[in-house]
Symmetry: C2
Subunit: 345 residues, 2 copies
Amino acid sequence: MTSDILAYQAADLLAEPRLQVFSGRSALVTGGLGFIGSNLVHALNALGASVTVIDSLSDGQGGNRFNLQGIEDLIDIRLADINDEAAVAEAVRGRHYVFNLAASVSHLDSLDAPFRDLDTNVRGNLAVLEAVRRYAPEARVVYAGTRSQYGLIQTSPVTEEHPLLPTEVNSANKAAADLYHFAYHIAHGMATVSLRLTNTYGPRMLTAHWRQGFINWFVRTAVEGGVFKLYGDGSQVRDLVYVDDVVRAHLIAAVTPDVAGQAFNVGSGNPVSLLQIATQLIEIAGQGSIELVPFPDDARRIEIGDYVADTAKIDRILDWQPRISLRQGLERSVRYYQTYREHYW
Amino acid sequence: MTSDILAYQAADLLAEPRLQVFSGRSALVTGGLGFIGSNLVHALNALGASVTVIDSLSDGQGGNRFNLQGIEDLIDIRLADINDEAAVAEAVRGRHYVFNLAASVSHLDSLDAPFRDLDTNVRGNLAVLEAVRRYAPEARVVYAGTRSQYGLIQTSPVTEEHPLLPTEVNSANKAAADLYHFAYHIAHGMATVSLRLTNTYGPRMLTAHWRQGFINWFVRTAVEGGVFKLYGDGSQVRDLVYVDDVVRAHLIAAVTPDVAGQAFNVGSGNPVSLLQIATQLIEIAGQGSIELVPFPDDARRIEIGDYVADTAKIDRILDWQPRISLRQGLERSVRYYQTYREHYW
């Protein structure tokens, strides 16, 4: 089953001429045992890159050794925190590409433990950028930021010019690291690009708990035939993008010339309500039910409002478009976790 | 001479009805031995507030015991870093007002020592906000941000909606702390306000070295009758504001109802070139000369372009306008350092 998914991805990537430059090149993926990171490692490996991973396998985060199952012997995996400056320096040295995906991704956890979130999301990214400046100044650097940096939505769809109004520390920290990537381009001439990802879903996502967003928990609920608890009337709008499309965006951002210092939204541009997502998952899994519950106070306060990405910029400049429909993506996700659930929860 | 300046400021502040609410109230000023912080402490003391100061007196930063000369016995001065969570918690407990002015302010230093800048400007502000959340959740919090958060100027004059494009880590860190203040308002309902200060000048400014911007060094050069070294042709435009006006903006922001979560530019709105400033200082001091030199590489890379603040928002919502003209402010500055130079360099 994993091999099905890998075979699809590899064929798709190997058919895209501009991505063949990774062959024989060297890449570092921070957070490479995590959800998006591990999918990116699979892609880079399929494209013939030699790949190094730094991952701390922190408790409660998305790192999972099973995510690299089948290619673990081909990848240089280093268990270290990105705040470990010596380990980061060693891992960065000589790389052609650096993908910054290591992160703490829970908005709710950051309310209780803001300093821990700061250490990973701000200081950790600064450590990586400093290492690149010193040991691999020519490397192309891609940062995986988040739509939640925009915070309270003022205008929709949300362009890259939308003000940064993060509603909690996690999103503020993700924004700070984004600003760092820009500043290192200006101050030190480094080739950094920032992506701002909307809700990403698919195989290899953490599903052990619900504190990292709703979509992983929804997929798990479908696989278990459980109850989807929606806040309010479930009409909150999100913009979901399948992980293979997000991986392609990272690859393209890394190889496209003349985009240093720029930021790009990555999303489908297609609004969908939480109620619609739950309904589709129930259809796909053939089980599960929906319950509408009142908003908890903490979730209500940091709710950003309906989010739809404006993807005109990435379409125009990176010639990137999502390829996997929501229905296809949800089907693949359910199928993956039906097969491999024992490795994820 | 200090007493002249104090007497002026006190009379001015005591004449403003809305500022009389500070009488008998309790305020914390972080960085209260520094330039703007100490001027704010003088003002709060004149208005009858009981004032606590936290300052680390870090080497090379603006903290200077002489800045509170004359009132040092009336102020509760605590020598501690704002990263000292226990000291901050103790200092915050029970305060009605918290003014967050402790900062590292050198753009150039942050290029060489980005982690130190992070600790003070990001982690330190987070420590203060966490302490307020736990021990003084009703306090009004005012953050002293900076125009350099806007970074590369896209449109002029610069409004509060201008994108954040900081050109180096110091400005990115100041922006991150600004985002924190907003996030704590949204997530925890705290009454935070952010100010974004343009180049502030006046008495009690650090003049020991030139790494914190140009205006302090210009004033020192005038007092010493030295050579003003201007980069390029000296036509770079800045927006200078006198410290007494900046102090009034802090006080007003702290007492104005219904402005929590908002950001306000503080500036004169009057563009002036570096050449014009140097020329005025030479006239005032009756000495000094100008030399035009090529831009050093590091300064050129992080040069943001001409800056003029759009101050329509602070004018409208806080009813704040600058009162001290550039000529008056420069005269007072030169006079102050002619008298007290031995305490500053």
